[in-house]
Symmetry: C2
């Protein structure tokens, strides 16, 4: 007759056997190559007990740029598509826009002409469409839009134009005790309504640019009004500032795709111990877009030089990724197994 | 011979028995009474599956004021003791302070005279002691100070003057899937170095007042310099703004002790579904301090009226708490069991 102890031992052995079985590849959309190898090596070195560069779970902070790093940013940032849709939606309430630039051109469909004024014009459009309502109202507007707005070229929802390999990377890091944050140059309140659903990142783990808000009473209830006044620009040298303000400690891994992320990558890698910096390089004109040093959106120039000089991981989208978007068929040039 | 199945069933039954045993009281330092009952009822209503006001774990956000809510704030805020110690430590580098107010009075030991100028004077002292160094340097200074600075009246470390019942409450909420945040009127970078050790709250879950920082290069490495310029005041109407900026969603429970917390409590309770607001009332001159409507530190006046009118939970420190500080003997007027 088997003893209680021996049965328990047998059960434990069964469990150990299951755990020892080869785990499924956590990054199935990544081709085997230097990028995937570098990611896995970093995670294993920092999370294996006894490793000389072991990092306690509380300090496993990983920060991700959004536009061009987690989702597509061409031909213009998704938030600009949102702003243009809002101009059309709000036009009936603003009859004066028919005569006033840049709104008049936008409403006639001349986006290129409207945006010829550059940054100040874009700021004007953003303030006109992102302020003048409560935070709850803006949240509802973004949720509604994100649930239906489609990319003009692909016909996909914008929220479907996220990168499958990066979704796997986020999940892989979290499965290894990392806390994942978005650190976006885009508006913090524009991305928060969908980061949890799309990336598994809750709103409190999103850092971004913002306009000011002010507490007011409306019908006896407190509301936060969104003011047409810049609060913080979370881009370039602003990214380490935003990270410090929101997170309060230095990431050990950071992920970007453009010169706007350079300072975040420098700040991250300047800490002691094991550090990881990765740049997504857009090299795939067929499945996504190909652009770098000369692009006005997501320019990758100085950060590419520094990545190459310092040996940061540079992902070649065309070579490193089996799949770009969720649900897309794997690239047939890659062997399937 | 027992079958494998029957052994497994027996093991499962053992486990079920253990789980069904009466759990230990999660709030042992709270006397049984209306406050404790209200806390437990709220947690059970919002976390029991099938409850009409069940809240998914991701939305279980609880925000806590720090000064006077989680630790003592008398006779003046802990951060002011820190600033005064820094004036003394920095004096050798500032010979001009011997002639310049408020520093001259401070260095002669005349704190009351030095602070007679009120808020602008305090701001001047804070800027002189909190800016002009990197974020890493400031972090090290605070860590060092928090590890040794003692309260002039009790002789305890300031970090030991935290409220044992509130530590239990934080742990109880977290054990029930709540994410706990500090939302302090004090400096975010002053409290972050010890919130994880003292409260179990990581730096990324701290909201507070701040001065501006700027990315600079020092010896080829990026640093964040602390500038003598106000960035954000996380007090009164600023608390909902800070909560929105950092957390991006409305808390379902908020805990404060003074009029500085009123807007946070209003903002929290104005949301739909079950909401919880609690005020710690300082009624215990013997074990802590007794103060409310007339106090210049931690004034509780308007918020007390509103709490009473709206039925928020008002903790009577003297009656509701068996113990105030960790390690202190329980109040002998209360029966021990």
């Amino acid at each position: 007759m088997k003893t209680y102890t021996s049965i328990v031992a047998a059960l434990l052995a069964l469990g150990a056997g299951a755990a020892a079985a080869q785990p499924a590849d956590p990054l199935p959309s990544w081709n085997d190559g230097a990028s995937k190898k570098a990611i896995v090596a970093f995670v294993e070195r920092t999370t294996t007990k006894g490793s000389p560069v072991f990092v306690p779970p509380a300090e496993r902070i990983a920060t991700f740029d959004n536009d061009g790093t987690l989702w597509a940013e061409q031909p213009v940032y998704v938030q600009l598509f949102f702003a243009l849709d809002r101009v059309r939606a709000l036009a009936p309430r603003h009859p004066e826009w028919k005569e006033k630039e840049p709104f008049a051109s936008l409403l006639k469909g001349d986006v290129k002409g409207a945006l010829a004024g550059g940054e100040p014009t874009i700021a004007q459009i953003v303030m006109a469409t992102h302020a003048g309502m409560t935070t709850d109202e803006f949240d509802a507007v973004v949720r509604d839009w994100a649930g239906k707005a489609k990319h003009p070229k692909t016909g996909k929802l914008f929220t479907e134009m996220v990168y499958q390999p990066m979704l796997e990377l986020l999940a892989y890091l979290r499965a290894n005790g990392f806390k994942t944050f978005i650190v976006s140059g885009g508006g913090i309140d524009f991305v928060r309504p969908f980061t949890e659903r799309v990336y598994g990142i809750p709103p409190e783990q999103v850092v971004g640019s913002s306009i000011k808000t002010k507490l007011e009473m409306a019908d006896g209830k407190p509301v936060l009004m969104r003011l047409p006044e810049l609060n913080f620009v979370d881009d370039k040298a602003g990214k380490p500032v935003g990270i410090h303000q929101h997170i309060g400690r230095r990431p050990i891994a950071a992920f970007g795709n453009s010169d706007g992320d350079l300072q975040m990558l420098q700040w991250t890698t300047a800490g002691s111990g094991a550090r990881f910096a990765l740049i997504v390089r857009h090299t795939d004109a067929e499945r996504e877009w190909a652009y770098d040093r000369a692009s006005s959106i997501g320019r990758l120039d100085k950060a590419l030089d520094e990545a190459l000089a310092k040996g940061w991981t540079v992902v070649d989208m065309k070579k490193d990724w089996k799949t770009v978007f969720p649900g897309a068929p794997p690239d047939v040039t890659e062997p399937k197994d």
